[in-house]
């Protein structure tokens, strides 16, 4: 493990953003939520929930999606994406937890979820599942540093329970990703008809699945650029084709659901709601779908990056539309995220990116960068996934 890394200007920028976030968080704790945030009684959930929890957790779906692909469906050619995906998931969920600590009115009571029995509450399920899944992710990822540190005995134990844990992880992910949607089915009269649906749980699950490969591709391209390795474009193109299917199916699902609920009229009416809907569908689904089905795009770094970024944008907008923008309120009630809210979420995001950037430089996350097996301690043949060195392909 090479502890010594050089902090680039990007690292320093991230650190600065993190610092601002920390300061804002201190203000939040010292002065109350109202000192930094604009959320109010009409909009009890705003940017923090929409981005910091809903979207971050959905983005964390990269973990279970890639794990599903590689470990469950056995598509080993995507193996190089696995470790980064698990790490990203771990950081996304950690980030979401940190966001929660800021967002909750009484974060010091959060443990109360664990000692309660509230099976009718979607948030209860989300809380438990996220908590368990975070543990699973930590376990999954722990293999990497443990490998590097050469803690063989621990590693063996970890590897033994890896399989059931991995399965637990992907199962839990399905549960809580969909439960985030279940949460919003509770308020049909409060969410604009364009977004409320009885199928919200499935919509949320599928959008998280859709986001996974997009984030994985985006990260891979970024890592290739920043860490200086040659990206395997065929792998990416292959994944991009799968992603195209996912986006297309999701688009069909969402539009089909809209039509079956008789909400087409609302989509065609004027107004801000319709506008947001079309931006979400158009920029977030339709455009990336068109891009991804084009082979030229799939083989181009820039094209892929653009398409995947759009997908992630669409994910964010979808979550915001359901939870915040699409909320039906009285005409005098408004909400615009404050700079404080945005600052804290940027701080958390920057933190995740910073930690990710540091870890990928000191741990063998990207196979393209991993040196030849150097540690003599690896006496046991690698069991299932998360193998170091070059994976099978």
């Amino acid at each position: 493990m090479n502890w010594r890394i050089r902090l680039t200007w990007w690292d320093l920028t991230l650190l600065a953003v993190m610092a601002i976030g920390v300061v804002l968080a201190v203000v939040r704790y010292a002065g109350g939520i109202a000192t930094v945030a604009n959320i109010n009684n009409a909009y009890p959930w705003g940017w923090w929930v929409g981005y910091g929890i809903m979207t971050m957790i959905a983005a964390g779906g990269v973990g279970f999606t890639i794990t599903l692909l590689v470990e469950v469906f056995g598509v080993h050619r995507f193996h190089p994406l696995l470790r980064p995906a698990v790490l990203m998931a771990l950081l996304c969920y950690s980030g979401a937890i940190i966001m929660l600590m800021v967002e909750l009115g009484r974060p010091w009571m959060v443990w109360m979820i664990l000692v309660s029995w509230a099976p009718t509450a979607a948030l209860y399920e989300v809380g438990w599942c996220a908590f368990l899944y975070l543990s699973v992710l930590a376990f999954e990822f722990a293999q990497v540093p443990l490998e590097e540190l050469g803690w063989g005995r621990v590693l063996r134990i970890t590897r033994m329970i890896y399989m059931p844990l991995m399965l637990l992880g992907v199962t839990l992910s399905h549960l809580h990703q969909s439960s985030l949607g279940t949460l919003m089915t509770l308020i049909p009269h409060k969410i604009n008809v364009l977004w409320w649906s009885e199928q919200l749980p499935l919509l949320y699950l599928f959008s998280a699945m859709m986001a996974g490969p997009a984030l994985a591709i985006l990260e891979y391209l970024a890592a290739a650029r920043w860490l200086g390795f040659e990206p395997r474009m065929e792998m990416l193109a292959s994944l991009a084709r799968i992603e195209a299917w996912l986006v297309g199916l999701f688009l069909a699902f969402q539009v089909g659901d809209l039509v079956s609920r008789g909400a087409v009229g609302a989509a065609l009416s004027g107004g801000w709601f319709a506008l947001s809907f079309w931006v979400e569908i158009g920029l977030g689904l339709l455009l990336p779908f068109v891009l991804l089905i084009l082979p030229e795009v799939r083989q181009s770094r820039g094209g892929l990056a653009m398409a995947c970024a759009l997908v992630l944008f669409g994910l964010l907008l979808h979550r915001l539309n359901v939870t915040v923008i699409g909320l039906r309120v009285r005409h005098w009630e408004t909400y615009i995220p404050s700079l404080g809210e945005i600052g804290i979420t940027l701080g958390i995001t920057a933190g995740a990116m910073f930690v990710f950037g540091v870890l990928v430089r000191i741990l063998p996350i990207h196979e393209e960068l991993t040196p030849a097996p150097a540690s003599p301690r690896r006496a046991v043949a690698p069991a299932a996934a998360l193998r170091g060195a070059r994976g099978l392909s």
Binding site: A34, A37, N40, N41, G74, G105, I187
Partner: protein
Amino acid sequence: MTTPAQKPKAMIQDNTRCIGCRACMVACKSWNNRPADHTDFFAGPGYQNPRDLDANNYTLITFNEIVTGAKPDWVFGRQLCMHCDHPACASACPTTALTKTALGPVVFNQNRCIGCRACMQACPFLIPKYDYENLAPLIHKCTFCADRVEAGLKPACATVCPTAAISFGDRDEMVAEAKRRIASAPGTYIPEIYGLDEVGGTSVLHLSSVPFDQIGYITGLPKTPMPDLTHRWLRVTPHFFALLYAVFAGLTWITHRRSKKQHEGKTA
């Protein structure tokens, strides 16, 4: 402690008797120790102050001028927690900080609250409010004076209302009384009891002389309990879990065996 003889309670809010005096608002603040508001002139139509329920006002009288032709009318409505029989807020709370008690009130236990505000999102009547300025904020809403009700008293609002626009008693008696009033004076009341069937039934039954949407009420709510919507998904959670786990385990086994065979095949 409720004795077996105490039946679930309900309240009638008869807006045809309400004179908008707001003794209920003041009595509520008194009983719940809420601080005064710093208002500027009037916030809502007429004398309405504040504009909406908030962390310091658990009940609110709405002032509604309704003009028919040249004839004015002033109709008052009241907003307060409906103490639903199947409360969406209690269902959405991940720590069971909100519970429906046997006597009717939906009570809030601040010792369990984590401040996630799911109840605020969930409530179809937009009732729970938050004091965001507080360092240790809490959910604020009408408590139905649960402590008074337990002691056999009426809620503070029902006690002070000078015109008995607010009645309180056993739910079956209140329902019967509400129906009786409508039947005995059909020219006075519109034939609707707001809160009887909404979202599966509530503990506050409103009567009015004009359609409820004209006096600030949220209308068009479904008659089925809100928690049914999430319940239908959440109750299959264990099944979903078991099924998915089994499916994924099976798939993993299959694909690993295949790749192991390939691997063996290659290295063999």
